[in-house]
């Protein structure tokens, strides 16, 4: 794209096309579908964190009147150990099956063991109580330090550490060790005049989406089965479910309902394959809905982590070396995002000498799932805390120090390529120049600054635009709308077609009426699906020009497209889009445009946050008094939605920093599986989050878009963490900074 494009619709805050349905209650979510003859499915979950299943007897449950089907791991007996291709949480099909229904072992509190479908939910619950299971209770392994010890109880006897190209020969709880390096880190530290290092801890934190996992399914013997569910990727649900059940893709239709939050947590399957097994066995539709307790215990949160980071710098502020070691909890099965932690931790900095290792560690907790920029917040918390400490010790302004060492176009990254054009410097300058940063702190207040980096991704997206005879149209996309993307798709199509956005209705197609699209995640939808929308719209324009040309007896090349009107450059003729659509039946039939792409050229997004806190040093309570989130959007298609993404990421990160954590007892039982005890921030806890949109265009997108969904959750952990450290004058190492922990820091400080 060119630097200065004049947009007609892009950059405006249009009315969201899904708004009316949502505010009137007409929108249909995961639990809203009911089918004739439908059964209710319920799951019996493990009361133990780690135990062998010695005996499992479902006969009494099966005999109960009203029970129609029972499912156990035996229903996955044909599942092999092949890999599931994917991203940072990639795993095997067998592990996925064993997470959905335990095989011979339960590996965390709440691990599903048996599923039952019955005429009513009450009968299903009654039947669960009749299932007999003998457990041999084992010692739980609840954190990476314990899990990595040589004498640690093993979760899996067949898990061997993969260390680069080498594989260990004795089993371990460490699934993998990764290493990234560049330059000579020893020489870098030798050249340093000041060195800072510290160990950090971040807890298990859940995405906290409001809508629980839910689905309604129907297995049809004629081979046309259906799944309705709340998901970030219905094509991924189809792929996973079909492989687990040995079905052909063409015989399974998956419909994405409206979704009440996902943030990465709805990129895998829990209920859908089980419900389909129950439906196959019973011959009836089955509905399953998790309650909040189940969501916390048995769906994938973000990894807890322990990390050690060391930085070296010269007195003039030049950072000479960065080194780190990260250990992330994967939960019960391998596949934490520690590699992404390694790849992102040092990327905001142009430093020649870097070395980082990461350990993927299994523990007796629910298998982790993606959570907004998976792996990055934990690593950046540690790095950014130390950069702030470095600034303090050097007597430097923390933003000024970051500007001195900031990554920019051409900077060599530790994960391989050099950065293309990025906007970190612009974000730092915007934060420095903000009103917030100019304000003085009051007594008992502290300030923290932090930066964050996320790659953003492209991938496959498919879109069709079907025009109607009256000049309106429908945009059918394959990416579930979890953050307002329908508005952005509508605006990009309108821009390309040259007609008002309101004339176009964006909808999410099911797996049968739109071609494959990767899930909504990785900050990819506005970028990649947006490119598919633009391609589909340009396809429509090409056809419009051909139709006009045929009417005027000229070639299509002699027709221009200006603001939704075909213009005959060889004469005075004009035909509007609406006119061409109205006459389409006489010029070749209705017009439909297609955009099927595998998008490349995703532009990374950097974020910089500034946080001011007030700490009550008698109670340890922390209040956020000012907060500013700055981020490079490339081009903000719908600025209000972009600001919303910044604010949402910031608030989730603030929650992770201040209060959110899974609390386990010694026996490994989760003690706070509900929103009363798992404290997410609510509106009354927070000031307005000021959002500053930086626009450094991504030259690989026609309109300059970068993704904005993820980077915003990376800086808050350190921005809040260091603000507290600054306020109380004591080193912060562990999150969350809940009142008891802060009070302890104050008391230990003396």
């Amino acid at each position: 794209m060119s630097e200065a494009q004049n947009f007609k619709y892009i950059g405006r805050n249009t009315i969201r096309p899904d708004g009316f349905d949502k505010v009137t209650g007409r929108a249909n979510y995961g639990a809203d579908l009911t089918l004739p003859g439908m059964l209710w499915g319920k799951i019996l979950r493990s009361p133990h964190a780690h135990a062998n299943i010695k005996r499992l007897d479902t006969s009494k449950a099966e005999a109960l009147a009203g029970v129609h089907a029972v499912a156990t791991f035996a229903d996955f007996s044909a599942v092999g150990d092949e890999a599931i291709e994917g991203g940072e949480g990639s795993s095997t099909l067998l592990d996925l099956a064993r997470n959905i229904l335990a095989r011979d072992k339960v590996l965390y509190h709440g691990h599903a063991v048996v599923a039952i479908a019955a005429k009513t939910a009450a009968i299903a619950e009654q039947a669960l109580a009749l299932v007999e299971i003998d457990y041999e209770i084992l010692t739980p392994v609840l954190d990476v330090r314990t899990a990595m010890a040589a004498d640690a109880p093993l979760l899996h006897n067949d898990l061997y550490t993969q260390n680069g190209a080498d594989k260990a020969t004795t089993p371990s709880n460490v699934a993998a060790r990764h290493e990234f390096k560049m330059g000579d880190v020893a020489a870098g530290f030798a050249a340093a005049e000041i060195i800072v290092e510290r160990e950090f801890y971040t807890p298990t934190a859940h995405q906290g989406y409001i809508e629980p996992h839910a689905c309604t399914v129907r297995f049809d013997k004629d081979g046309q089965s259906m799944v309705w569910c709340s998901t970030q990727g219905h094509f991924d649900v189809r792929a996973s479910t079909a492989r687990l059940l040995g079905m052909e893709l063409g015989k399974l239709k998956v419909i994405a309902s409206e979704i009440g939050g996902g943030f990465g947590g709805k990129t895998t399957v829990y209920l859908e394959p089980v419900a389909l097994i129950l439906s196959r066995k019973s011959g009836r539709p089955v509905k399953m809905v998790m309650n909040r307790d189940e969501v916390f215990k048995a769906t994938g949160p973000g990894s807890a982590s322990r990390s050690w980071i060391k930085l070296g710098a010269k007195k003039d502020g030049t950072i000479t070396a960065m080194q780190g070691s990260l250990a992330y909890e994967a939960g019960a099965f391998k596949g934490s995002p520690v590699m992404m932690g390694c790849m992102t931790a040092f990327t905001p900095y142009a430093v020649p000498n870097m070395l980082i290792e990461g350990f993927d560690v299994v523990v007796n907790k629910a298998k982790v799932a993606a959570y907004r920029a998976p792996g990055a917040p934990q690593a950046e918390f540690a790095v950014e805390m130390l950069v702030n400490e470095l600034a303090l010790k050097l007597g430097r302004d923390p933003i000024d120090l970051r500007l001195q060492n900031a990554a920019k176009e051409g900077t060599q990254t530790i994960y391989g390529p050099k950065l293309k054009r990025v906007g970190l410097v612009e974000c730092l300058e915007a934060a420095r120049d903000s009103k917030h940063y100019q304000q003085a702190l009051a007594a008992n207040q502290g300030r923290g600054v932090a930066a964050g980096f996320w790659f953003n991704v492209g991938g496959q997206s498919s879109v069709t635009i079907n025009m109607n005879p009256d000049g309106t149209g429908t945009i059918v996309e394959g990416s579930p709308d979890i953050g307002g993307s329908r508005a952005s798709m509508q605006m990009m199509a309108a821009e390309a077609l040259g007609i008002a956005p309101a004339l176009l209705k964006p909808i999410i197609g099911d797996t049968e009426n739109v071609a494959f699209s990767a899930g909504t995640g990785g900050s990819r939808t506005t970028f990649a699906t947006g490119m598919a929308v633009i391609e589909a719209a340009e396809d429509v324009v090409r056809q419009m020009k051909q139709r006009a040309a045929s009417m005027w007896n000229v070639t299509a090349e002699q027709v221009d497209w200006v603001d939704g009107v075909a213009v005959n450059t060889a004469g005075e003729d004009r035909l509007s889009l609406a006119s061409i659509c109205a006459g389409a039946d006489r010029t070749g039939g209705q017009i439909s445009g297609r955009g099927n792409i595998n998008a490349r050229g995703a532009g990374p997004s950097f974020a910089v946050h500034v946080c001011d806190v007030a700490v009550d040093q008698e109670t340890g309570k922390v209040d956020i008094v000012r907060y500013t989130a700055v981020q490079d959007a490339g081009k903000a298609i719908h600025p209000a939605y972009v600001e919303g993404q910044f604010q949402g990421g910031a608030v989730q990160g603030i929650g992770w920093a201040l209060n959110e954590e899974y609390v386990y007892g010694a026996s490994g039982l989760l003690e706070n599986a509900g929103f009363l005890d798992y404290r997410i921030p609510v509106a009354s806890d927070l000031p307005m989050i000021d959002a500053i949109i930086v626009e450094v265009p991504n030259n690989f997108h026609p309109y300059g878009v970068r993704g904005v969904g993820e980077s915003g959750i990376i800086p808050p952990l350190a921005a809040v963490g260091y603000a507290v450290e600054n306020a109380i004058g004591a080193a912060v190492t562990d999150l969350p900074l809940s009142p008891p922990r802060v009070l302890q820091l104050v008391q230990d400080r003396g």
């Binding site: 799932a369 390529p417 996320w454 790659f455 953003n456």
Partner: protein, 80 residues
């Protein structure tokens, strides 16, 4: 000649951090790498994304390379 840069783990098997390979496209590049570094697991390599001159590409099968392209193999990134 394209410049191919290997990760720490790949270097265990290639013995070099980088090398120059004459290849006009991704498929030629893979063939040449397989010949020169037989210890590399080509099946694993083909599952990886690549970065060509800083641009990350998840499905590079049909990608062409410029005369002095710099190529890195990366793990697939999905995000949340």
């Amino acid at each position: 000649m394209a410049r191919v840069c290997f990760s720490s783990a790949q270097q265990q098997l290639t013995g070099v951090a980088e090398c120059d390979i004459a290849a006009a496209d991704y498929r030629q590049l893979l063939g040449a790498i397989a010949q020169r570094f037989p210890r590399l697991d080509m099946a694993e390599l083909q599952k990886m994304a690549i970065a060509i001159d800083g641009e990350i590409i998840h499905e590079p099968l049909l990608e062409s390379l410029a005369e002095h392209s710099e190529v890195h193999f990366l793990h697939f990134i999905a995000g949340g």
